[in-house]
Symmetry: C2
Subunit: 202 residues, 2 copies
């Protein structure tokens, strides 16, 4: 049985395109079904197969700008004329209920989260090597070579932000990467600051 | 397979008498046989059943004072006219070989270790409650009531040092306490600072 928690942990996962992050997250959530996986809000149109509330919360530009005005976004960014962001209110509710919240966001958003919530746990997932990342990106076989090269260049830029992350997990085998993340979350629960309420007389 | 490590982790375990620390350590070492459990040096005489190099390294007062003079002790203390201490040289050797080192020491020694090795990971083990600690101490049935009361008083003093520890583990079930410590060690291995050598181009 898990120890009673005063407050949930906010967990941020980042990693380059092609590292296999969504597979690791699926494995993680299948082991730790108590974690709330935060779905981002976006103004872009749903793609074929995407469902509202599953892949994204799809909202209008007006709705998104209202969220900005209400300061209801933990972080947001605009890419190619579309907004993407994370609702602060939803996350706070879960954390206050003692539920761990997982965010899958890129390096700029992660930096904003750390500034606003210094207690957030930032985990960066890397492939075993750049060679392997290139192999994985080519293995998808859906992208043009120039798109792949662009992703590899972006990965090198993202790597420069790794020192801002608390933990670094190498995704060689998915099950091992997920097990390391689960160990990180267990360890964070064991931090003295998160457990002092369990001890009498301090 | 474990990731190659640049350097071993120094792990300090403390906890009140009666908490079941040695049982937790046995369980931990049976799961993680790669950990080097540091045996303390002492000038006190071996008790029946104690073996040199297993329970303690038994040395003479002269030998111990030479270790002090050579600055070869990570921490030491004198109790009831006997010295107890931890060899720095032995530990450094193991850490440099990438081997994790576990120390079982009390709160004053732990504080000294943290001052000298700020990267040391300090874990405090508590019982589920003081009532349960009292029950466990009485369950031993070998100690006089006044000895037990002395241990409970000392436990309350030791509890005041808990905020200096990085992690707090509740020993309700031994297997769960050991699993939490193993998770803590895995997470510490995943700390970005301990893994940057695995990533190219940073």
């Amino acid at each position: 049985m898990k120890q009673k928690k005063a407050r949930g942990q906010l967990i941020v996962l980042s990693g380059p395109s092609g590292v296999g992050k969504s597979t690791v997250i699926s494995e993680l959530l299948s082991e730790r079904s108590d974690i709330y996986f935060s779905v981002s809000f976006t103004t872009r149109a749903p793609r074929v197969g995407e469902a509202d509330g599953v892949n994204y919360h799809f909202v209008t530009r007006e709705q998104f700008e209202e969220m900005i005005a209400r300061n209801d976004l933990l972080e947001y960014a605009e890419y190619v004329h579309n907004y993407y962001g994370t609702s602060l209110r939803l996350i706070q509710e879960k954390l206050e209920q003692g539920i761990d919240v997982l965010l899958d966001i890129e390096v700029q958003g992660a930096a904003k989260v750390k500034t606003r919530c210094p207690e957030a746990v930032l985990i960066f997932i890397v492939p075993p090597s750049f060679e392997e990342l290139s192999r994985r990106l080519h293995g998808r076989a859906t992208d043009l070579e120039e798109v792949i090269q662009g992703r590899l260049t972006k990965a090198r830029e993202e790597y420069q932000e790794i020192p801002n992350y608390d933990y670094l997990v190498v995704n060689d085998k998915v099950s091992e990467a997920a097990a390391e993340i689960i160990a990180i979350l267990t360890a964070e629960d064991c931090r003295t600051n998160n457990r002092l309420h369990l001890v009498e007389g301090i």
